[in-house]
Amino acid sequence: MKLHLNKKAITRMQGIGIIVILVVIAVVGIYATLPTPGPTPTTTTSKGKFVIDWWYESSGHYPQSADQAAVYKAQMERTGIITVNLHAADWPSYKTNRDAEMMPVYVYGWYPDYLDPDDYVFPFLHSQGGGWLHMNYKNPEIDKLIEQARAISDPTQRDQFYQQVQKIMVDDAAIVPVFQSSAWAVTKPDVGGVVLDITQNMYYWLITPPAGKDTLVVGTTDSVETNVDVAEAYDFFGLNVVLNTGAGLVYIAPGSGAGPNDFVPGLATSWNASADGLTWTFDLRQGVKFSDGTVFDSSAVKYSFDRSLSLYLDDSSQAGIGYKDIIDSVEATSKYQVVFHLKIPFAPFLSLMAFQGSFIVNPKLAPVDAAVNYVEGDAHASNPNDLGPYLLSSWSRKAGKDYEMKYDANPNYFGIADGYPKTQHIVIRFYSDATALALAMKSGDVDMAFRQLASSDIKSLQTDTTVKVWQGTGAFIQYICFQEKIAPFDNPKVRQAIAAALNRQELVDTVFLGQAVPLYSMIPNGMAFHQDSYKTLGDANITFTVSVLQELGYG
């Protein structure tokens, strides 16, 4: 009897079950047909809310770009008059979209090539120099100012020019700087000599190893993107290998603000420019030897530049910066003297020479007609630079990413007399992501972690007494671009309204836990001629934003 009831119960339950399924399918089905937030690359500017289609890069090319995007959206919508539709694209698509000029608002970032204010205004605000950003921003006035500023070397005059440039920048609000990221390194407490200056370089030869060791083990998540040939490398890590294994004519004094007087001798011991700034003469250091014993002289310098300029590979730094627009020819006037003939007077020329793209290669290792690529198991053949403090003694890659690199002190290095390099051997281990790197640092697998630690990891490491956290001014800046082809972003008022709605401090605190600094000018903090121009628009200046947009009929 009992059993029978049970049987019925089960049947009934299953009846219900089936019904529930139908209900579920129905509910879900209906729900699925509701409008889905798919990308719609057009901005609808009807009466009512002001809708922005806001794009960001989603494959980790920029630090925590997704978090930033979330913050931007939230901040814009706080005004109550703006709605933001976020759109993500991985790096390659992001670039095609940019070139297709279909992103109304998009966020970009910048590492400096040569350390000079010019490298922070010309590539953005100058209609020609900024062409690659496709903002379609052109203001003859600002173009003229920039050209004048880069042509003269007198600081005071340049200052005046840059003051005006930064003023117009805010009036037009064509491009809005947001933040400048600090540089971070974490080491064991007894490691010394880590210099994190505005150049973003890591000078391994200045670092003193942990007590009683002559080897420094460094962990990083970076990896050489193409190769370490001066004539092609254009990614941070590739250039840093060039810096430590190669040598340039001049250097920016480590730790300095890269001001006009901060240049120190490298392979060149002295230099001077002609009055018109079109010819630069460098006297070379004597007695410097390549690793194969041959003597370094002016021919090597000429060879290096001729080679880079003749190759001029599409993804090389020379092509990127436009060396050919600046340098006309290089002439070896004597065994230890070279003369550069320029096409235009170019104030930041020394900075350009200090940039790794201008370093000197070993002619024997660098064929004139091709870039030197990674050669499996042969570090020597993979690296054409051998004048620097270190020689690349081993380099292994796995699955197209770096795996391990070893530097050994270069016995022929010209700086040996001054006691450099301070550490004989550098071992660089590559970790696949920030998490792994942080844990390696915590567990003491590495003596030093440099790039890229997530801000949350840095925060937790700062409270960790077994490690030492180094902070320096970063020259990486991030900024918002507007596509002026798409209305209403051709209207400076609208752009200012959006700029004013930003709350840079909040962004920096939320996304980077305070490990970056708000930026109010394209010229980063700590660099000559910097001025907090955008402060005039204020932060989270909602009243301003609302009033502007209401004038235009939104809200």
């Binding site: 049987k7 089960i10 049947t11 339950m13 299953q14 219900i16 079950g17 089936i18 529930v20 399924i21 209900v23 579920v24 509910v27 879900v28 089905g29 729900y31 699925a32 889905t36 937030p37 798919g38 990308p39 960001y56 989603s58 494959s59 980790g60 997704a66 978090d67 995007a69 979330a70 913050v71 959206k73 939230a74 933001v84 539709n85 976020l86 759109h87 993500a88 694209a89 991985d90 698509s93 920030a434 998490t435 942080a438 844990l439 915590k442 997530a454 949350s456 990891d457 925060k459 937790s460 909040e506 939320t510 996304v511 836990l513």
Partner: protein, 294 residues
């Protein structure tokens, strides 16, 4: 006239399955529980705008990464967003992707399966070859590859998932049709001169439907997991829409800081949802596919 007679036969054919339903207690419970879970989640997702305490995309509603507390029962994430609200509304995308992909699979897979296997011959051979080769391949990898080409977006995700799961429909339908084709009452129908269209839709389709339903439910579960997986490898949607898969993806970066609550709750939701569909699927296939019984 004669067709009606045969109709009667069909009912007879289906009866055993219904009787089955009454006998197999466990399967019934599985279906029931599974369905309940799924229903609960669907309702939660749809109702989230009214029940969630905060707007899930609002930042700094609370301190950054605060553990579960009275004010934030599930804590907050690295942007100071309320996890509870995110958990409430995080299912939307998964549901959409799952439903879409299943629909696509039904629209594409069922007809192909029916016709290819019913017509037989070359059509069948070619179709089976294509389907099997896709079927044999690591599904997620294929989905990833396709999604990578198509780019982000609900529809694209659904499509790339559908491509992977169409074969399983095809296979089950094919095997069924091949057996049913031989059944006396179908042959009888053909002998009695029923049009092949009639045979296909009147006699074969009804008998295939149960297993289609079963596969579809499993497909739901897989779609949920796969969409989460796609998001995890960075092929998901922009941050603006709260999504469990997304929270899991980001949670990984927060692991060293020990913020377990950021991954735990969204993760559990995904598991529950997939579990619900799986249980339904298991139950159904246990009811309908005698081979899988026991």
């Amino acid at each position: 006239m004669k067709n009606e007679k045969l109709q009667g036969r069909i009912v007879v054919q289906l009866l055993p399955q219904l009787r089955n339903l009454r006998q197999r207690g466990l399967a019934g419970w599985a279906i029931l529980i599974g369905a309940a879970i799924v229903a609960a989640m669907a309702i939660m997702t749809v109702a989230s705008p009214w029940i969630r305490p905060y707007d899930p995309i609002l930042i700094n509603v609370g301190p950054i990464l605060s553990p579960p507390s009275a004010q934030f029962p599930l804590g907050t994430n690295h942007l100071g967003q309320d996890m509870l609200s995110r958990v409430y509304s995080g299912g939307a995308i998964m549901f959409q992707v799952a439903v879409l992909s299943v629909i696509v699979c039904l629209v594409v897979g069922v007809p192909i399966g029916l016709f290819a296997s019913y017509l037989g011959g070359y059509t069948d051979k070619v179709a089976s070859l294509v389907m099997d080769s896709i079927y044999a391949f690591p599904g997620l990898v294929l989905a990833i590859a396709i999604a990578a080409m198509l780019g982000p977006g609900v529809v694209n995700m659904a499509l790339s998932i559908a491509v992977v799961y169409v074969p399983s429909y095809f296979r089950i339908i094919r095997s069924q049709v091949l057996t049913i084709k031989e059944l006396p009452y179908v042959e009888a129908a053909t002998i009695m001169g029923a049009k092949s269209r009639t045979t296909l839709f009147r006699y074969i389709l009804p008998n295939v439907i149960p297993s289609i339903v079963a596969v579809a439910t499993i497909n739901f579960a897989d779609a949920v997991l796969t969409s989460a997986g796609l998001t995890f490898v960075g092929l998901g949607l922009p941050v603006s829409t709260p999504d469990w898969g997304w929270d899991l993806t980001y949670g990984r970066r927060l692991l060293p800081s020990g913020a377990w609550w950021v991954i735990a709750f969204p993760g559990l939701m995904v598991v529950l949802l997939a579990l619900g569909f799986t249980m339904m699927g298991e139950g159904l296939s246990e009811l309908f596919n005698p081979r899988l019984q026991k």
